[in-house]
Symmetry: C2
Subunit: 377 residues, 2 copies
């Protein structure tokens, strides 16, 4: 497989834009990514598009804003993990030599109540477990019982997230909040309060990738390389105790191990991380699942400020899903964008490690699976 | 790129199945494809799923019917071309050595009036040109004026299609119709009548592909190989007369040339073809675009019986979209299934060339682009 670099990345600000169309949002993100990469649109050989709720053919309607050059435009859907899935397909198409340059785009205009779950009649749906805040809340309660964490520790995730979002001109929410604000906001599914839920967001993000061997003609300087990846879905495996049969072991630990193996790196090497904090407890579950802190110590790590921009394991430096926003098709590409900014020393007031950040980790999950990416500079 | 074979293919019958769920339809198609391939599900390393109208995460809910083995399940959408797009992604993932075995699935339950067009406000939509029968009818009228074709010649496509469908136990319509039946059916968009429109259909289709070097452990005998492919979207290019500026040259001629170049073959080598006849005139436009007959001679070729099973350029031997049916996410995989049956001599009463068919051509189009595939045996 060839070395692949992320040459450029760009966003349309996340927020609510009722008067803008998907092509309006997508065009601005694509133009920003192309400008950042130095690649003219005519050199793009394929586009992979992550989107969920947009109608069929939405990818072409957005990409065509840049011109009709006849390239394949492939729409990819993996719910909230759609645009890292698009990124992986694009990455494989370049790494394996099918194309030299590829555009990845993610966009969404979220509408309350619009999301369809594939199987409306499953027990999970009927029992309320497919209602996302309820699922996170049940896991959070179990975590509190198992590890002695407090509800405030989950709330602190959102405090940190909003502080980071206030430093990000592309974030939906750019105002810091206090722990009191978070804990006193409306209860959604105890202990998850309103300010611990990702908001309803419109937005777009785009990334230009290129074979490393072709990069010099477009851009020089510090570049982010794709060092590792893994993608997969939940797996039922025999448990240690044969009397218990099989259990769904989830994806995160198994997949991150695959990504580290491909990258030749490990969790001790990580400088900056983006995780899928659709709800505040998610950040804690993710940093444990990724092996950044031992199981049971994630809540305390957040409480102690270790995941802050100036902490030892900075997480969601751009505000994450909670503050930057979560237009589900765009989220994965926004995660890539922030990691690229951090690894190239262009994250401004959000920059970690004084600009000396060289390994970034991304975890993006959706119904259908999870993607892990490792970028290096 | 490694040689890749289609080891197995399978369908759930196309038709209307209001009491069946998507997992019901998909599971039967997957089981049939796995049985045909000799590959156990546990050996499948990745699944690519074509679907359009199903809710998010639908791919996993269907593939999980076979077990939760933790594989990536990637949902692909390119409207009516979705499952050949899924096939191409799966093909690239195997041809480039990322995986050895891949499952491709397409499914859909069509519901009248459900299809969303991405951009509801485009002039094309406002002017009625995004209404598919109207678009085909306008092109058909122009074709009649340019080439002296008759409305009956378009109708004859449907007569042939239904005759083939009557030989296909998986087709939605298995009853022959007369030219009078077709011409006297309700006018939809003159000259397109009801029996010249693909019906509302539920269905599923699945294909198992494998690196040729790994095939022998699963299956022996005559196998279908992926010899060529092309995918892309419409392209605006300078016209010959500079005063006219640029024109949308469409995809079909440009893409089929790319596929032939990859395959090292040409239109004179084709034994059997599947084209995207969403409406009857489509078959005529497609066989001309693919270079199987000269431009302007397609309607006469149909009228003369050249596209029949026993003709010199058999087309849509399984009944095509018009009679087999067109559950949009499943159509591409159904096309692959029929070509595989023809190239392995297993097409029964629909078999062309007395079983001596070795080159099959597929054209599957949707909003967002077109896929061309060349299979050989």
């Amino acid at each position: 497989m060839r070395d692949v670099v992320v040459l450029g990345a760009g966003l349309h600000r996340f927020g609510r834009f009722p008067d803008k169309s998907l092509p309006d949002l997508g065009r601005e993100a694509i133009e920003n990514a192309l400008d950042d990469s130095g690649v003219p649109f005519k050199d793009i050989e394929v586009a992979y598009v992550g989107r969920v709720l947009a109608g069929m053919g939405a990818g072409l309607s957005v990409v065509s804003e840049m011109g009709r050059t006849g390239i394949p435009v492939i729409n990819i859907e993996m719910a909230c993990g759609s645009s890292t899935s698009a990124f992986r397909e694009a990455y494989l198409s370049v790494a394996t030599g099918v194309y030299d340059t590829a555009l990845v785009v993610g966009f969404e205009k979220m509408q309350r109540g619009l999301i369809q779950i594939a199987d409306q009649k499953s027990y999970q749906t009927v029992m309320g477990l497919a209602v996302m805040p309820a699922s996170y809340a049940l896991q959070a309660r179990r975590y509190m019982a198992d590890h002695g964490a407090t509800a405030e520790m989950f709330g602190q995730v959102s405090v940190k997230s909003h502080r980071n979002g206030a430093l990000n001109p592309y974030a939906q929410y750019q105002t810091a909040v206090t722990l009191d604000d978070v804990m006193n906001s409306r209860s959604i599914a105890d202990p998850v309060t309103l300010l611990q839920c990702s908001p309803t967001t419109d937005g777009a993000a785009a990334v230009v990738i290129c074979a490393a061997s072709k990069a010099a003609q477009y851009k020089s300087g510090r570049l982010a390389h794709v060092a590792g990846w893994a993608t997969g879905s939940g797996k039922y495996e025999p448990t240690g105790d044969s009397a218990e049969g099989e259990a769904d072991t989830g994806e995160i630990g198994r997949l991150v191990a695959m990504a580290w193996e491909r990258a030749g790196l490990g969790p001790e090497d990580v400088d900056v991380t983006q995780v899928h904090d659709a709800f505040a407890p998610g950040e804690i579950f993710s940093i444990e699942g990724l092996g950044l802190v031992p199981v049971g110590e994630g809540a305390q790590a957040v409480w102690d400020g270790r995941t802050e921009i100036d902490g030892d394991i900075p997480v969601n430096t751009d505000g994450g899903l909670l503050s930057r926003g979560h237009p589900i098709g765009a989220t994965g590409c926004a995660m890539v964008t922030e990691i690229v900014r951090q690894l190239t020393g262009e994250a401004g007031p959000r920059q970690v490690k004084g600009g000396d950040a060289h390994v970034g980790l991304i975890q993006n999950a959706g119904i259908g699976g999870m993607n892990i990416l490792v970028l290096t500079s």
